[in-house]
């Protein structure tokens, strides 16, 4: 048992054990719970940081054993998994801080934080999974551990959202299982490997492989909220804000997107997938999702719902990036995995702050909120501009790289999609910003609470400010080592084998 075996296991265990301990704690142990939560989150960041450092310097971390005859359980840290693991470790800490503040004085916290940690553990498992089987294992665990979070409030609406969520995701999971089992039957147990397996495959297998690919995209697309499998996502908005933040930024939708990346890069191989004509179809679906999500977002009056449709649209950037089939496009897609996470979590934190502090849920109630809550509103504004793609913020880096990638491989229409989408983004974000900063407050806040000198509780205020700063840094310092962009370049260099 060397350290290289234990590291990924430890990284997984920090949140798994934390969740077990949190369940066992009595409901009233607020202080202890917070301490354990934060300690585990910080420990996890440290572990992931060490692994990122190690991976950058060429070390390998892997733990594997045979689970079922013919199938291995593999945890492995490579550059791609570190991209996702780093994101989720970082955002876990911030979301936990936020959630502690958000859920102050609300019931069932023991249950909430227990499942919350479990959810993060699943995400970490998804990041570290070394083969499809292990990936699927954590993918389903994620489904189960997020259900209690979605229905946390226990209202009829929450329960209905939870039911739809579970119907969508479990069905998607079943489809994915079918595809994985079929693939396993065809070619055996496949570890994720650079360049994939099917670059010189027997043409007779093309038919089954195509079907399997489609099935996998359906199974993963449910979580990634590809149209037409996105229905659950806007409904899941009823969950408490930290949950929405986590769901949209890291956990669920990203798990789907990350799975698509794994399958395309490291099972099929980008070239093989392109050669079989699989990417063309996927890119069309992704483009449609981008446009559709943005268009629907325009019509939402509920702030969180608008953000949710925005997620539908933004996550597909990642998928679209892959389909560009060139280094720049792929880098754009990968980096968006991180950028979108940071931007979207900022926006959700802010939305949660408005709801929690002012009782504001609808966009037309936001008039003048910028004066009442300047810190939150600055963070929101930065997030919105990032989403639109204004330089020098993180979103700009994504869109610029992807656009360049599209031109590089001659898919000019993608540039058009990017432009349209950015215009739509502007169309649904700018009115909000206008209301925040320039409209006068004409009605009293629906349900205002006060926290001393600060505009809101410190637990609630700091996380969005931090993430907003990170977002700015990710844009400004894009070329510094270990920035998301440089890391994505490292991944492309090492693993995508273009």
């Amino acid at each position: 048992m060397t350290l290289s075996v234990l590291m990924p296991v430890f990284a997984l265990m920090t949140s798994l054990l934390a969740s077990v301990i949190l369940f066992a704690l009595p409901e009233k142990g607020y202080r202890l719970r917070t301490i354990i939560n934060l300690a585990a989150a910080i420990l996890k960041i440290a572990l992931v940081g060490v692994m990122i450092w190690g991976v950058a310097h060429g070390r390998e971390y892997e733990a594997a054993f045979t689970m079922v005859p013919g199938v291995e359980f593999v945890l492995r840290a490579d550059a791609l998994s570190m991209l996702f693991a780093g994101l989720s470790a970082l955002l876990w800490l911030l979301t936990t801080i936020y959630a502690v503040g958000y859920l102050e004085d609300s019931p069932n916290r023991s249950r909430f934080f227990g499942f919350f940690s479990l959810c993060v553990a699943s995400t970490m498992g998804i990041a570290l999974a070394g083969n499809l089987f292990t990936f699927f294992l954590f993918y389903e665990m994620l489904t189960l551990s997020t259900y209690p979070l979605v229905v946390h409030r226990g209202t009829t609406k929450a329960l209905r959202a939870g039911r739809n969520y579970i119907i969508y995701t479990l069905t998607g999971g079943a489809v994915l299982l079918f595809a994985i089992a079929w693939l396993h039957g065809l070619v055996g147990d496949l570890r994720f490997q650079e360049g994939g397996y099917f670059s010189d495959v027997d043409p007779s297998l093309n038919g089954p492989l195509t079907i399997i690919f489609v099935l996998m995209m359906v199974g993963l697309g449910v979580k990634a909220a590809l149209v037409p499998f996105h229905g659950w996502l806007p409904q899941a908005m009823v969950a408490p804000a930290p949950v929405s933040a986590l769901l949209h930024a890291v956990a669920v939708v990203k798990a789907g997107a990350f799975g698509i990346i794994r399958v395309v890069f490291e099972i099929y191989g980008l070239e093989a997938a392109e050669a079989m004509g699989l990417l063309a179809g996927l890119s069309v679906v992704a483009a449609l999702t981008i446009i559709y999500g943005s268009t629907r977002a325009l019509y939402q009056v509920d702030l969180k719902r608008r953000l949710a449709f925005s997620t539908v649209s933004q996550v597909s950037y990642i998928v679209l990036g892959l389909c560009l089939f060139g280094p720049l496009g792929v880098i754009g897609g990968l980096v968006h995995l991180v950028h979108q996470g940071i931007m979207k979590i900022t926006l959700f934190f802010c939305a949660g702050n408005y709801a929690e502090t002012l009782g504001v849920h609808r966009i037309d109630e936001l008039d003048g909120a910028g004066k009442r809550m300047p810190g939150t509103s600055v963070a929101f504004t930065l997030g919105a501009f990032g989403m639109i793609g204004a330089p020098p913020l993180a979103g700009f880096i994504t869109k610029w790289t992807m656009g360049a990638g599209a031109l590089e491989v001659g898919m000019d229409w993608v540039v058009a999609v990017l432009v349209i989408s950015s215009l739509l983004n502007a169309a649904y974000f700018l009115p909000i910003l206008h209301r925040l900063w320039f409209a006068e407050q004409c009605e009293p806040w629906p349900h205002e609470r006060r926290w001393g000198r600060l505009e809101t509780s410190a637990w609630l205020l700091w996380p969005p400010l931090i993430t907003a700063t990170l977002m700015v840094l990710a844009g400004l310092l894009a070329n510094v080592p270990f920035s998301p962009l440089s890391w994505a370049e490292l991944i492309v260099l090492r693993e995508v084998a273009l």
Binding site: F23, E27, T66, M67, V68, P69, G70, V71, F73, P107, N108, S110, R111, F136, L137, F138, E140, M141, T143, L144, Y147, P148, V151, H152, R153, G154, T155, L159, G162, R163, I166, L170, T171, G173, A174, V175, L177, F178, A181, W182, H184, G185
Partner: protein, 488 residues
């Protein structure tokens, strides 16, 4: 050493049945704890012995088959013996706290419990067709006695229905045994198999096999002969329900599976195998649907057993007319399904009992809001549910995975749809219970926390079912150990 272990294994349950008959419930509880410890240790020892040295034949009374009765102590049998020891000990432990010692009839729980255990071991090890019949009857009568114990009219109705079904099933099996004996002149299953494979004998008849399978399927509650199961399992005391669902129905299935694997290749046929598979599939779908429709918590769990039993019968099509490797895969999958269902269902029934005790009602609606009390039992119920849904990393998932692989490899892709749909359907009824527990209702303010040990037991079982998926490989490797035929 193994001789001693075997003697201990056969002797302990029967002896403890007598001992506990002599004393009242409280003393019986103490006596039983001791006996359970002995029995678990002996089972573990035997399992370890077989895992290291391979299986053997145990000649009862020192007489070889066909004259005497041989016990077939192989990897599969000792795995089930160990499973029985764990599950039965858990249920017994639970019952010792759960049952009210004040009721005079509860003193008879212990002897019946021990007889049931003895019968189960007899079936797992049995290698003699007639002896298996006696073992089955021992199980059935003890089980019926447990269901009826002190019950009111509803419980008795369920018990009588159960008894009638069990008796008819046993007779069908016995008739098959009579015909087999008439043809081959021996009752040893190994002997019959050998005769059939050697080709000396005239080819056997299919009808006896069909009769036996029919009888055993009735006792296993295969669709459409499942009507007796839900009332009996639903109305019995929770520890009893757990025993019945986890182990008792598996006993008759185990015999059917052994018959099929030994004789099915010769006497069975594609149509028969597919027919049984179709019935199993219908059981999965219909049972899950009915489970979804139930208003009482324990009825949900009971109907879920009907559905889960359906999976077991996929063994028949997946092992007929396929290569050795695929057949092995299917057998391993079914074995895992038996084990994981036994653990999960026992956990579920025990947890359901605790929940019913806590909220004071047996209705699913009554669970509204209980998750805020953080009942341990709800977690156990949930974890067990995950295994029933066949989601990773549970034993249920490992089983499903192997069955998926076997269906794909054998080209019988239609079972894939059944397996996947079955998982989703079971999610429907499991999530219905979860959902109820998350409802925030204002008037749920009374919640009685049962004693810690009552809550710990289902949790242990559920965790075992969960962990089974992770250690499926080592467990299965013991099961498929080479069988060293011949003397002791």
């Amino acid at each position: 050493m193994t001789l001693w272990l075997m003697a201990g294994l056969l002797f302990t349950p029967l002896a403890w049945a007598v001992l506990t008959l002599m004393v009242d419930f409280r003393k019986g509880r103490l006596v039983t704890w001791l006996g359970m410890a002995v029995q678990v240790l002996v089972s573990l020892g035997l399992w370890a012995a077989v895992a290291s040295d391979g299986g053997f034949l145990y000649l009862l009374g020192g007489w070889q088959a066909p004259l005497g009765i041989e016990l077939r102590v192989d990897g599969l049998a000792v795995t089930f013996v160990l499973l029985t020891a764990l599950v039965a000990a858990a249920c017994g432990w639970h019952a010792s706290i759960y049952l009210d010692p004040g009721k005079p009839w509860h003193r008879y729980f212990w002897p019946l419990f021990w007889f049931l255990w003895a019968g189960l071991n007899a079936v797992w090890l049995g290698g003699d067709l007639f002896n298996l019949y006696v073992g089955l009857e021992l199980i059935s009568l003890a089980a019926v006695g447990l269901v009826a114990l002190g019950g009111q009219a509803d419980a008795l109705r369920a018990a009588i229905r159960y008894l009638m079904a069990a008796l008819l099933g046993s007779l069908a099996y016995l008739l098959g045994v009579a015909l087999i004996y008439g043809q081959f002149g021996t009752l040893s299953l190994a002997g019959v198999t050998e005769l059939m494979n050697s080709g000396d004998a005239q080819s056997g008849q299919t009808f006896p096999l069909v009769l036996m399978l029919l009888g055993l399927a009735l006792k296993t509650a295969l669709f459409p002969m499942h009507g007796w199961l839900p009332p009996a399992h639903g109305i019995a005391k929770s520890p009893v329900s757990a025993l019945l669902s986890a182990l008792v129905v598996k006993a008759s299935f185990y015999i059917a599976a052994r018959l099929w694997l030994d004789l099915g290749g010769e006497l069975g046929g594609f149509a028969l195998a597919q027919l049984i598979g179709v019935l199993g599939s219908l059981a999965i779908i219909w049972g899950s649907w009915l489970a979804f429709r139930q208003t009482k918590l324990k009825q949900v769990v009971a109907y879920s057993s009907v559905a889960q039993i359906g999976y077991l019968f996929l063994l028949f099509p997946l092992t007929w007319g396929v290569t050795e490797a695929i057949s092995l895969q299917a057998q391993q999958g079914i074995t895992l399904q038996v084990i994981s269902h036994a653990l999960a269902k026992a956990a579920m029934f025990l947890a359901a009992g605790n929940l019913i005790m806590s909220v004071g009602s047996n209705r699913v609606d009554a669970l509204a809001g209980v998750s805020r009390f953080l009942p341990f039992s709800l977690f156990s119920f949930g974890l067990a549910g995950v295994s029933l849904m066949g989601l990773p990393p549970t034993g249920g998932f490992a089983a499903k995975w192997l069955l998926l692989q076997a269906s794909l490899a054998s080209g019988q892709w239609w079972w894939l749809a059944v397996l996947l749909a079955g998982g989703l359907l079971s999610a429907a009824y499991v999530f219905r219970v979860y959902r109820a527990s998350f409802i925030e209702s204002t008037d749920t303010d009374q919640f009685y926390h049962p004693s810690r040990s009552l809550e710990v037991i289902p949790m242990i079982l559920a965790l075992m079912s969960l962990g089974l998926g992770l250690v499926a490989e080592p467990v299965l490797s013991v099961m498929s150990l080479p069988f060293e035929g011949g003397g002791q």
